[in-house]
Subunit: 221 residues, 2 copies
């Protein structure tokens, strides 16, 4: 709790990370329900969609206050708005990308970030041949400018798309600039600092969760 800092906005501290990991999925499901005209939802229904027990749903939400009414369930619109605010998803975030090679360019052209409030507004690369070039509407900047630009543009999230051998160094640089949330595409287990969250996009791990079914289902085909 000390690591995460105080709770100046009255935010609950000490919420288990596994609960935080689930909340974006609550938000997605509630958004779809709202779009579909659903007004009320029970913890039973939410549980079925999230593959957890209704008791777990009630416990998850209890960290953030009293939402549902006994026997009536949750108001979809109200719960969605509250969860978005709690998660910081009712606002937009400035994001900086490090690495504009093939992967970095794919990330810059990915259309899914902006509609969800994540705006990549700066791009950096260590390669002098790339610095100064315009890629995806952004002027690629030198890593020497990282600290200044992060502060000037109020960047709070970093995306790392550099080769594995450079990833930890780049993550260290981002943390030194005060970045507290990092999304890394490098297949390494990065070392963090206190108070910094790092998530890995790991396609290999995803593949590895499917081979069980291939092995057991089609072994004698």
């Amino acid at each position: 709790m000390v690591i995460r800092g105080s709770t100046p906005m009255g935010m609950p501290s000490g919420v288990p990370e596994v609960v935080i990991m689930r909340l974006p999925q609550y938000i997605r499901i509630l958004s779809e329900m709202l779009a579909g005209g659903v007004e009320m939802v029970s913890s039973q229904q939410l549980g079925e969609m999230l593959q957890v027990t209704p008791a777990q749903i009630r416990k998850d939400l209890s960290y953030f206050g009293r939402f549902g009414k006994q026997g009536r369930g949750y108001n979809v619109k109200g719960l969605l708005a509250e969860l978005k605010e709690i998660m910081g998803l009712d606002r937009s975030w400035n994001v900086g990308l490090v690495g504009v090679g093939r992967l970095g360019r794919a990330i810059l052209s990915y259309p899914g970030f902006a509609p969800e409030g994540f705006h990549i507004i700066a791009a950096f690369d260590a390669d002098p041949n790339l610095v100064g070039r315009v890629i995806g509407n952004l002027n690629v900047q030198s890593m020497n400018e990282l600290d200044t630009v992060v502060k000037e543009l109020d960047i709070s999230i970093g995306i790392v798309a550099v080769p594995s051998r450079h990833a930890q160094g780049v993550i260290d640089r981002l943390m030194d600039c005060g970045i507290k949330a990092i999304l890394s595409y490098a297949p390494i287990a990065p070392q963090g600092q206190a108070g910094v969250k790092i998530r890995n996009i790991d396609p290999v791990l995803s593949l590895q969760t499917m081979t069980f079914y291939l092995s057991s289902g089609s072994a004698e085909d």
Copy 2:
């Protein structure tokens, strides 16, 4: 259980998906331990590293037989070998990629797949201007050839890297060719068929699990 087919190799059926999702992480942790010279590990230690209870570790592993010895823990090397075999990770898999735009090219040049046994051996695109070009050592093939090539090359996993609006169509085509495991980079919730596993790589969901900490920790900085 019917959907997943019979268990011709004596594989356990009816293992909860959440357990299967965790097993690749067990394998990673055990691999690191083995590389570090660790011989035995307790369910307590495994639990701490995987952020689940020791009881959960014992329950997870109990689906696959009796591994540990009361009071002595698990033999790292033995458990690792067994889990790899169970998960189908002691062999290699042929993978086909659909979509060789920016993202597809980044995937082809990603160095993390092959060392883990995932070999992208064919690439397809619907764009006639790309068909016939050599990208990442692969000759890009037409979507018309998908069915033939999947069968000839014994491809069992598909990776989808096409624009969102085409993703479901491509996933349908792959399933029609008998592909049972699909990794999709498109930010859509795809419709599967019985017996097919689909995983999404979703960078937005990852970002959304971090903003809670940014909101609560730095609101008054």
